[in-house]
């Protein structure tokens, strides 16, 4: 017997979309989103988000709703790990993972400083900045993805930009 979690779709949702199709198109984006949000294992996060979607496959009948759901789940999982975990996991060090050492070399110096400043932001400001400037989401989409109001989205982006600007001031 399995856990049964029922989600009733809204009346506007029509036309079932196979999760495999969404996965094929969107999985890399979700991995990258988790990575940019600071997940220590972005693929684990993205797979978990899609695994949860699979369990609700029958209930989700709209591709936009499914995409919004996995994005929301990725954001929540990254945030929840930060919030709940007193055990913090590290990225595999350069010596263990060739890709990460390549990343260090391949990212431009000025971008590295900016990304480091981004990583030091409080989680929600970082989330807002990534959703706005990487995914190019609208305020409405950001609000849905972050589970906050549009006003909060504006505030988080504004405060995030201010903090980034201040962090970079001393390095320009």
């Amino acid at each position: 017997m399995g856990m049964t979690e029922v989600w009733r779709p809204s009346a506007s949702e029509t036309g079932a979309v196979p999760v495999s199709d969404l996965f094929q198109v969107r999985y890399p984006e979700l991995v990258r989103l988790a990575d940019l949000l600071g997940a220590d294992d972005p693929e684990d996060i993205a797979q978990e988000a899609f695994a949860r979607l699979i369990r609700r496959q029958r209930a989700l009948r709209d591709q936009d709703a499914a995409l919004a759901y996995v994005r929301l789940t990725v954001c929540n999982l990254v945030r929840n790990r930060r919030r709940h975990l007193r055990v913090v996991r590290l990225r595999t060090p350069a010596g263990h993972d060739e890709a990460s050492s390549e990343q260090v070399v391949m990212v431009r110096e000025d971008h590295r400083e900016l990304l480091a400043a981004l990583a030091a932001l409080p989680p929600r400001r970082r989330e807002a900045i990534v959703l706005r400037y990487w995914l190019d989401l609208s305020e409405r989409e950001m609000a849905a993805t972050m589970g906050v109001s549009a006003g909060t989205v504006k505030s988080l982006v504004s405060r995030g930009l201010d903090a980034l600007g201040q962090a970079l001031e001393g390095k320009v």
Partner: protein, 388 residues
């Protein structure tokens, strides 16, 4: 568009393009979705949960279902006003009973209703014991009904230590609602924000428990002082709640080199807030729990997938002074042990690890952390639990 915004777009795009993607991810995802449907326990996967030995915390992330729609069969019940828990509450949504089978309630469900960032949220609270881990003490569980985090649930330690008038235990899915336990004489809770704004919360008795639960809602990234008062309006105690904090900087001195980690040394430092942080090259991590609250912590390095497959996890951490050996016992009975090395004089902690666990059992885990003194006597056993 400002230069900063342009740079952000470029930097994020450049960085994102470097994220590796596992070609076998779909098969793993499907397998994960199937494994998590086992009964009575969902497969252990995903979230690594804190070990806080001082409070014997067995925190359990049960599920983080986060849909904007209603979770549970039947129509969505109307939400009460904010804050309110005084009127007779509608029955909990059906989905809560699925979770309550995993952490069986030893108390009735206690509904509290608050507004979190504009969303009316009912948070159903109950106390129970994690099966197989009763020694960890009673757990305080929650289930969010309403709002964007509809269906979010989690459990953490529900103990109120003897003599302590209040303790903060958990947040809801949005991070806005803080909740915890408090002494019987407390009748009201108020969060005072940095600007002086006061936000009133709720305090509710729980049948079968000698203390109460409290909850208050304020912006997730804000600091606050939470005041607890008795019926006469006298302050019983207060809790200083930190807001979201930026990452700490690596201290310039005072580190203790622990072990070689890649091309660097994993080094421990004392950081502000009576906490301990670890740095190795460009990587860092830190506990958000002061040593005074928990002198036992477990840290795992990530098992990031690479072209050669999963790398092994290295586990290490700190333990209370007097601990000579720390062992990790896996669910299958295998045990891995490490001797400890001294911490800073007077710090109350020693360090242990690294223990390299086989890559093929990398996340998820369900394990027990066991500490021994120099004579080989068992000091404590603390579960680290994963639930899907």
């Amino acid at each position: 568009m400002s230069t900063l915004e342009d740079r952000l777009r470029e930097a994020l795009a450049e960085r994102a393009a470097l994220s590796p993607v596992d070609p076998g991810a779909w098969d793993k995802t499907v397998d994960r979705s199937r494994r998590r449907l086992r009964w009575p326990w969902p497969a252990r996967t995903g979230l690594l949960v804190p070990v806080a030995a001082a409070a014997a915390v067995a925190a359990v992330i049960v599920a983080a279902a986060t849909l904007a729609g209603h979770v549970g069969p039947g129509p969505k019940p109307p939400g009460p006003a904010n804050p309110s828990a005084s009127r007779p509450a509608p029955p909990p949504p059906g989905a809560i009973y699925q979770l309550a089978r995993q952490i069986p309630p030893v108390t009735p469900f206690v509904p509290v209703s608050l507004v979190a960032d504009g969303h009316q949220v009912r948070d159903f609270l109950w106390f129970g014991y994690v099966p197989g881990h009763a020694a960890a003490g009673i757990a305080l569980c929650q289930f969010n009904d309403g709002g964007v985090y509809n269906g979010y649930s989690a459990c953490t330690s529900g103990r109120l230590p003897a003599g302590a008038p209040a303790r903060s235990a958990e947040t809801d899915g949005s991070g806005w609602i803080r909740l915890g336990v408090t002494a019987r004489q407390v009748t009201s809770v108020t969060a005072v924000l940095p600007g002086g704004q006061a936000v009133h919360g709720v305090v509710e008795p729980v049948r079968g428990i000698s203390y109460k639960v409290w909850a208050v809602s304020y912006p997730a990234d804000s600091a606050a002082t939470v005041l607890f008062r008795d019926a006469a309006g006298h302050e019983v105690t207060r809790l200083d709640m930190p807001g979201d904090q930026p990452a700490p900087s690596r201290p310039s001195h005072g580190g203790i080199a622990l072990f070689r980690y890649g091309n660097d040394m994993m080094t421990a430092y004392r950081i502000n807030g009576d906490r301990i942080g670890f740095w190795a090259g460009g990587d860092s991590m830190w506990s958000d729990v002061p040593v005074s609250e928990s002198a036992l912590d477990v840290i795992a390095t990530g098992s990031t997938r690479s072209s050669t497959g999963s790398t092994p996890d290295d586990w290490f951490g700190y333990a209370p002074s007097g601990t000579a050996r720390v062992a990790l016992r896996l669910a299958d009975g295998r045990q891995f042990a490490s001797r400890t090395i001294p911490g800073w004089p007077g710090s109350g902690v020693v360090f242990w690890g690294p223990l390299t666990l086989p890559a093929q059992i990398a996340m998820p885990y369900d394990m027990i952390v066991i500490t021994y003194n120099a004579a080989g006597h068992l000091l404590q056993e603390v579960p680290v639990i994963f639930l899907g």
